[in-house]
Amino acid sequence: MDLFQSFLYLMGPWPLFLCVLGTGLGIIVGAIPGLSGAMLIALTLPLTFKMVPEDAMALLVSMYTGSITGGLVSAILLRIPGTPSNVITVFDGYAMAQKGQAGQALGLGIAASFFGAVFAWFALALLTRPLADVAVRFTPFDYFAMVLSALVLISSVSGTSMVKGLLAGMIGVLFAFPGLDDNTGSTRFTFGMWQLTSGFDILPVLVGVFGIGTVMNELLRPRARFERIAYAPGGMWMKLSEWKAQAWNLIRSSAIGTWIGILPGIGASVGSLVAYTVAKNLSATPEAFGKGAPTGIVASEAANNATVGGALIPLLAIGIPGSVLDVFLMGAMQIHGIQPGPLLFEQHASIVYVVIAACLVSSVLMLVQMVLMIPLLRRVLDVPRQFVLPLILVFCVVGVFASSNRMFDVWIMLGFGVLGFLMERGGLPLGPFVIGFILAPIAESRLRQGLMMTDGDYSPLFTQPLTLSLMVLSALLLCWPFVRSYRLARR
């Protein structure tokens, strides 16, 4: 199946229904503060077991696209970002809404999201195959250095403290070690439990950290109510001349979002922050930002949606997830027996092309559904939490049990839920944790494989060009906070 055939496949009744459903659910969950696309995808994973992989990926990619966009509704109307990727939209979106321009702010956000998603789709369609062809020649040391830099990169941009980000990542790495060691065939770190012979399954860990952990945080304030801003429908459509004024901002922010998406491990929230900062710095009226500047909304939303397509590039071409949400897609592929990476084009080309096609189809559906669903979304925000939270818990339990038929995994999920809850309370970001958990086996096996090839010689880590540059990048990222604080102290 090539790209064109994949589009035709997705136009079939069942795949198209899954795309519509996935995008719609993603938008709704993204719009509800406290719930996230990661949680939705984690809860949906068990339901995809019975699907063919192409349908499963179409559904999950659609959820991914929808969830990134849905958060802009609550960001603009409630001043609460539905997802972390919409934090920056709050600054100008809510300010515009306060001036009675909520409709215009929503229109700007939706259209910019669509443009960013389509821009990144072209990068996804054009760059993935060439990158995969290059990645086939990567050495085991290159892969090790790539995982290391991904971990350092996400730790450096997640949360407020790099040390905490790194600690979260290392805890995730530690939990990836228990189980069978592929190189020696022996078991290790099983805590004396035979159930851990195959290690911690992906699903209980992801559902626990993102599902149970989130619900526990929300249970602390189950009756919280949000102040809502008055919103009159209409005024969503801007004139062509107003769009022309935003053209350069749209292209620049989409390019930034795509590039940040490609960088391993970091996703939409950083993309929107960087695009917003650049737009503000280049603006003739930077003082207007934060007070209802349309340029700010366009920059933030174009960039965060562009990261979706961008982040899929390293996942499909190299097997390194470009964002936390891509970890879930990687987990879904692994559950279906598919290993993302350079050989994906050779072994499962249909999956790659369906993912790429679904990215565009879901972007178009997102545009249509966002426009149609705005009135519904405003009602969804009213659904009492006391009904939503227990239902999520029930879905977590039944989903994880059904995936393995073991109650042990349900207890593991609850344990990781408590860990995720404590980490969030303590300010340790969850992104590095899941990236560390999912990438550690790759890093370890590639390092050991490389050392076997060189008979224990570590020098390729510092002599091979790509490995060396990635190691230097990691070192610079690690040193930067200390250099910065030293410079600040000297001033």
Partner: protein, 161 residues
Amino acid sequence: MGDREARAETLIALLAIVLSGFFLFEGARLKPGVFEPIGPGAVPMGVAVVTMVLSAMVLFGRWRSANARPQQADVRPFDGPAPHETWALLLASAAMTAVYVLVLQSGAGRYGYVTVAYLLAMFLALSDQARKDLPWAVALALVFGLGLDYVFRHLLVADLP
């Protein structure tokens, strides 16, 4: 950072040290590989050492900030005033969930019925107007409890506890 957040941070750092200690201890007992230079314990032990160092840095940072200045109020940029937190409700929900999983594990009741009872109890526990919400709670508990039972058993043909 508030008191509770600081305690959670300290707790996680201490847990990480204990976990790292376990990996160091177990890693040292693993036999080295025959055909490979570093064996199965080397990388986990290296990661455990790094984790311990990072945990110590977090604990030191916490100790330093606790001594440096008085605790500041927790600032929440989007929520306005910090919402009231209901720890009793969280603990009660956690206990009910643990009992729910235990009952499912013991096989004492059919999945659908146990789930209906759990959902009903949770809905009413979390509601601030239990009497008013009762009809909705009963309806939703029945629909989702029995519905999930049907979907997983008959449509997805999956085993349920």
